[in-house]
Amino acid sequence: MYALGLIARWVHLTSSLFLVGASAMIVIAGPSDRSTARRWEHRILSSARGLAVVAFASGLVVLGVQTALFEGRAAAALEVGAIGRVLVETQTGRVWLVRFSFLVMLAAFLLLRLSVERRADWRAARGEVALLGAAALVPIAAAGHAAAVDPDTARAIAFDGLHVVVAGVWVGGLLPLALLLRTAATSEGADARPYAVLAARRFSRLALCAMVMLAVTGALLATIHVGSVAGFVGTSYGRLLLAKLVLLGLVLLLASVNRTVLLARLAGDGPTVGRPAMRRLSGFVVAEGLLALAILAVVAALSVTPPARHEAPVWPFGIRLSVAALEGATAEATRTLIGSQIAVLGLVAMIAGVILRTWRLPLVALALVALGAGAGLALPPLAIDAYPTTYLRPSVPYQAASIASGAALYRESCAACHGSEGAGDGLAGLALPRPPADLRAPHTAQHTAGDLFWWLTNGIPAAGMPGFGARFTEEQRWDLINFLRALSAGYAARGMGPSVELGRRWLVAPDFTFAVGPTPPRALKEYRGRVVLLVLYHLPGARPRMSQLAGREGTLAALGAEVIAVPTDAAPDAIRRLGAEPRVLFPIVTQGATAIVTAYGLFAGSPHAEFLIDRQGYIRAIAQSRGEAAELETLLAQIQELNQEKTPAEAPPEEHVH
């Protein structure tokens, strides 16, 4: 089924692109009164009729395979009812309806016998074929990966549609052009030779523009669907895309020979110009066309492969390059700086070599040497050890509950060596070949969550760290990593005081869910856009502070700030224990308190702690005390400052993972 679907997709894509490209090629070449040119035109048009049928039939097969996939059973591929449901009820199906109707219109139009003796009639008739072909092709973008992009769906679809139609003009034009050149190179077709030369020149110009547009839209689509180097080399989608790029490189090589050498030799007569050049060009164009067919096969495979962005990349190399390696290493940083400058010089020389006609060879040679030397100098200091899981994204979000279960696992299995506070000073660690790592140190910038996952799973044999892959489930390992992240962040947060530093957001507030009594659970994330004052309190010490906050609840609400209070003893009857007076109306967490207290306890040591969380979900100030009433006007002023602070364009916290 998979193979059938793939082949059908390839046939469908190829025929749809050819319909656009072949008709565009005729329009580009223009009308002619030479009999050979007319024969060529009619041959292309009659093959277009066949192609429309092929595109329709292969489209039906693809639709059938998709129906089987949607319904979850192979037999559905042949059931009219099931296919009808897909056509009417899914977006993919509606796109197919639109495309099928345009294909039918195109086939019908191709069957019309129109008189095209006059120029305007010819242009209209041939242009209409190209237009209907494009109309049948472009909606395909709304049924592919681009339609699943969120947000900016419309933008992705527009890029994809443009990419597809430009690809059609280029790919589909190649074989008709080769045919025209081949015919014109024979002695019977000599009358069409000027026509063929003109067509080749026009197509070459158009193909150059098409290539630029393909490169631009392709690069944009790659950033949308792949987005990272790890996605490129570590996922099947990325590797298919690399294969496509390699094939495209070969095509560009051929095309540049065609454009610079052979195209110039078409006119005139002689042993290497005129007919021989035309024959060779036609051969090269056929080769380009065959490579393009291979590219389309890769594209068909891409269309059934989940985009790299949604896959867990497997990093294939033992090292990776990152600027984070330079932190604190001055000599290496200087070396990298010098190397990068040499490489920039090399780049300038390369551009100059391509543009200038004189000195081309020495310039390019110089450029290559400078680029090589620059890379050799700059890159080695950037290398950091990497593992297959290095770019794995955590499958468990950074949440209080996960941090709390990670903390429990840590106490059980890690504290003996790494120490109860994570300082690497556990007694059992003394016997190890290498002292256990200080898990609070800020070196996390150099290690991804995926690195930690690898070490946790497989251990670090040289250091005596055992692997826990067999003992902990994947979820538990991510819990531990979330705990380590919070531990290290908490250590760094020691210096954070009760006053907000404007413009500095770095301490991500772990998300949590909580409930007040039998009401449905809510998450901290739902408060995004408002300032939250998270209060960890302990009675009776915090009674004055709670009274104070309760008394000013109206003012806090007017400033758009929400108070969430969590009893550190996680008592289920916390609200009753606060009593009837004063009237505390903000949420008192009665479910989920334990996890919140464990996780946020890593950021503060005192029995009473207040966290000021900004509208983007970052902790901006931590006030620690024993819970006595404090100056409230300062707090209100800080909330107002946070409200007025400029909202950054950067991604909200969850996206940002070390």
Partner: protein, 124 residues
């Protein structure tokens, strides 16, 4: 007929047909949505309704006959929030104290609703 005229006619027909179809579809969807909203509002307005809601008593105002309750979602009326509700009898207020998890009956013609019955729920 000249070919170019035929082509222009075809394209015009496509544009007009497609546009007309799209417009009809959009108008019909808009009308259905309007009707739905009207029907829903009519079904809800002016009719006495009753809900059973769970929540926690947060404050009691005996002099106002008001209970402040942090409650869950009230279907088709109010999302989960902390809010004061009038009670129909002082006995209802006397039956509960601050911090009690409760299940209460809310009855009335919105927005004029009141708590008509309340009972504590035993939580673990």
């Amino acid at each position: 007929m000249r070919a170019w005229k035929a082509v222009v006619l075809i394209n015009l027909a496509l544009i007009v047909g497609g546009g007309w179809g799209y417009a009809v579809w959009g108008l019909r969807t808009a009308r259905l949505e309007r009707e739905l909203a009207v029907a829903r509002a009519a079904a809800l307005a002016g009719v006495e309704r009753e809900w059973i809601v769970e929540g926690v008593v947060r404050a009691i105002f005996p002099e106002l006959n008001v209970l402040v309750i942090t409650h869950g979602d009230i279907r088709d009326y109010m999302p989960a929030m902390t809010m004061g509700f009038r009670v129909t009898s002082p006995k209802i207020q006397e039956a509960v104290s601050v911090g009690d998890a409760v299940r209460f009956t809310l009855r009335g013609v919105p927005p004029n609703v009141a708590v008509t019955a309340i009972q504590k729920i035993i939580t673990r």
